[in-house]
């Protein structure tokens, strides 16, 4: 990836994620998170009032970093990242990670990207931003 080939408004290749029970178990085991809303359906629906098992917010943050890092490949590094979980997502939903270039700073070789996790209803449930520094 060359800075000269990157333009404001360019989209990043979209990627779809559909976490299931097994993936959520693997994720929460890997990070050592035992919050019951990620594996205990009767508790999650009966006591916490969710319609289903909740997909972790930081996992959605990870999906956004994957979108950016797969786009950059070995041509740059992540220098900044932010995300905000605005609305819950549940097992069974297909989540789409999207991105678009918002700024190219040629002087310091940095590119800013606007990011979003979009649910099946088309709602942005996790907006984010990232900055990558491309190797010159």
């Amino acid at each position: 990836m060359k800075l000269s080939r990157v333009h404001v408004g360019d989209p990043l290749p979209e990627r779809a994620f559909k976490p299931d029970e097994v993936q959520l178990f693997m994720y929460n085991a890997a990070i050592w998170n035992h919050h019951r809303i990620h594996y205990d359906h009767p508790y999650t629906t009966g006591e916490e009032g969710h319609p289903g098992i909740v997909i972790d917010g930081p996992l959605q943050g990870d999906f956004l970093t994957q979108l950016v890092l797969e786009w950059v490949g070995t041509d740059g590094v992540l220098s900044g990242f932010e995300y905000s979980n605005r609305k819950a997502a549940y097992i069974g939903e297909t989540l789409r990670a999207r991105g678009r270039i918002t700024e190219v700073r040629e002087a310091d070789g940095e590119v800013d990207v606007e990011l979003a996790i979009v649910n099946e209803a088309g709602e942005v449930i996790t907006p984010g931003k990232a900055s990558v520094r491309l190797h010159q």
Binding site: F17, M26, Y43, Q66, G80, E82, S84
Partner: protein, 151 residues
Amino acid sequence: MALLTPELNAAVGRQLPPVSAEVTRREICKYSAATGQRLQRFIDGDEAPPMFLFGLFLPILPREQLGHDGLPPDTGLVPELPLKRVMAGGTQQTWFRGIYPGDVLVSRQTLVDLFEKEGAQGPLIFAVVENRVETEAGEPVMTEHSTRIAR
């Protein structure tokens, strides 16, 4: 307004004891498989995906210390606030270097800000926690600011 008393404001600057953790290739491989990473350096555990850090410092406690909801007890870094409905307000990270197997990383968490705003549906209190992650030698790895919103 003026929900934040002098006592609450005095909590700004409070720190948790530093926590250190060793990064292993096996833990990176587990994380990469669990999150569906497709870049070979992450799959092979040569480098950790950035969000691997989220789990690295989560406490490992015996079952009897976890709550009914499965969560560990609150750290107490953010004091009890007069508004009780708490939401995650977002996370902002600045990255200085990658994470590699063999790294021993240290996390230092500080309550750096408490402020209130009038929202459309009433008052809001914002609590901002800084998490500075460095190597044992003091090389910066990542600095994160996470905001908790109470309403």
